[in-house]
C-alpha cells in the first residue's frame, strides 16, 4: 500500500485539502471574515458584495467608533477595510486605535482621492495596504490568494 505521507506531502494534495502530516485528514477550509468601516452606503454595499463574492463573511459599520466598539467585544476579523472619511474619528485615527488594541488583522485603507500624504499617514498608522477606490474584485482576489498562502 502506498504511504499516505508521499501523497500528502505533495503540494497538490495540500491544495486539495489533505493535511501535510500524512494522516489523510482534510484541512478545514478556512472561512475568512472581514469588517468594512465606511460611512458611504454605496461603498458599504459594494465592498461587502465584493468580499462575499470571494467567500468572505462580511460585516460593515459606519464609523471608527462603531468599529472600535465591535472589536472591543472580542469580534475577530481577518481583514478590516477602512475608509479615510469617517464621522467623528477619521480612518487614520481609527487605524491607530485598532493597532493599539493589539489587533493584527490585515488592514486595508481605501480612499476616493489618492495622495501621497494620505498614503503615508495611513501606512504610518499601521495599515498593510492603501487602495484608491473603487475596491474591485480582482484586487480582493489577489489579497485573498496572498492570505491563503
Amino acid at each position: 500500500m502506498e504511504q499516505p505521507s508521499k501523497i500528502n506531502n505533495n503540494e497538490k494534495s495540500v491544495q486539495q485539502g489533505f493535511s501535510p502530516s500524512g494522516c489523510g485528514d482534510l484541512i478545514a477550509t478556512k472561512k475568512f471574515t472581514a469588517l468594512v468601516v465606511d460611512n458611504d452606503p454605496i461603498c458599504q454595499i459594494i465592498e461587502k458584495a465584493i468580499l462575499e463574492s470571494q467567500g468572505v463573511e462580511t460585516q460593515f459599520v459606519g464609523s471608527g467608533i462603531d468599529a472600535l466598539d465591535l472589536l472591543a467585544t472580542g469580534a475577530n476579523f481577518d481583514i478590516i477595510i477602512i475608509a479615510w472619511v469617517l464621522p467623528m474619528m477619521n480612518g487614520v485615527e481609527t487605524t491607530r486605535h485598532i493597532r493599539a488594541m493589539g489587533i493584527r488583522s490585515k488592514l486595508l485603507a481605501v480612499t476616493a482621492c489618492f495622495d501621497e500624504r494620505k498614503k503615508k499617514a495611513f501606512l504610518d498608522a499601521g495599515v498593510d495596504e492603501f487602495i484608491e477606490k473603487p475596491l474591485n474584485p480582482k484586487k480582493v482576489a489577489s489579497i485573498m490568494r496572498e492570505m491563503k498562502k
Binding site: 454605496i42 461603498c43 463574492s53 472619511v85 482621492c113 474591485n136
Partner: protein
C-alpha cells in the same frame, strides 16, 4: 422584435455607455457580482447611488451659494461623492469630481461652480441612459452568455 434582436439591442446600448465614456471597468466588475440570488444587483446599487447622492448634490449646491466659500467643506462633500460615483463606474462623473477638487485646492470658486454645473449634467445624462438600459434589459431578460466587450 425577436429575442435575439432584442438582446443585441441591449448589448449595443450597454456598449455605447462605455464607448461614450460614461462608464468604466468598475461597472463590469459589478455586473460580474450579479448571480441568481442577486440578479438585479447593479440596478439596485445604481438606484441607491442616485437616491443617496441627491442629498450630497443639494449640500454642495447650498454650500456653493454661500459667501465666502468654504473650500474644505466643499472638498469633503466631493470626496464622498467621488467615492460612490467611482464605485458604480460612473467615469465622467468621477472626472468632474476630480476637477472640482482641484479647483477647491486652488481656492477657485468660479471653477468649482462651473465644474459642478457640468458634473450635474453628466450625472443626469448617465441616470437617464442607465434607466433606459435597465428598463430594456429587464424587458428582454437575461442573456445566456456573458457579453463583456468594453
Amino acid at each position: 422584435m425577436d429575442r435575439n434582436k432584442q438582446h443585441r439591442q441591449v448589448a449595443l446600448m450597454r456598449q455605447s455607455l462605455f464607448d461614450q465614456g460614461l462608464l468604466d471597468e468598475q461597472f463590469v466588475q459589478l455586473e460580474e457580482l450579479q448571480d441568481d440570488a442577486n440578479p438585479n444587483f447593479v440596478e439596485e446599487v445604481v438606484t441607491l447611488f442616485y437616491r443617496d447622492s441627491a442629498r450630497l448634490i443639494l449640500n454642495i449646491d447650498q454650500a456653493l451659494d454661500k459667501s465666502p466659500l468654504d473650500f474644505a467643506k466643499l472638498d469633503g462633500y466631493m470626496h464622498q461623492f467621488k467615492g460612490s460615483a467611482s464605485s458604480i463606474g460612473a467615469k465622467k462623473v468621477k472626472s468632474e469630481c476630480t476637477l472640482f477638487r482641484e479647483y477647491c485646492k486652488a481656492g477657485n470658486g468660479e471653477g468649482c461652480k462651473r465644474t459642478f454645473q457640468q458634473l450635474k449634467k453628466e450625472y443626469a445624462l448617465l441616470r437617464k441612459k442607465l434607466e433606459t438600459y435597465f428598463q430594456l434589459a429587464r424587458q428582454v431578460g437575461p442573456v445566456e452568455t456573458a457579453c463583456r466587450r468594453i
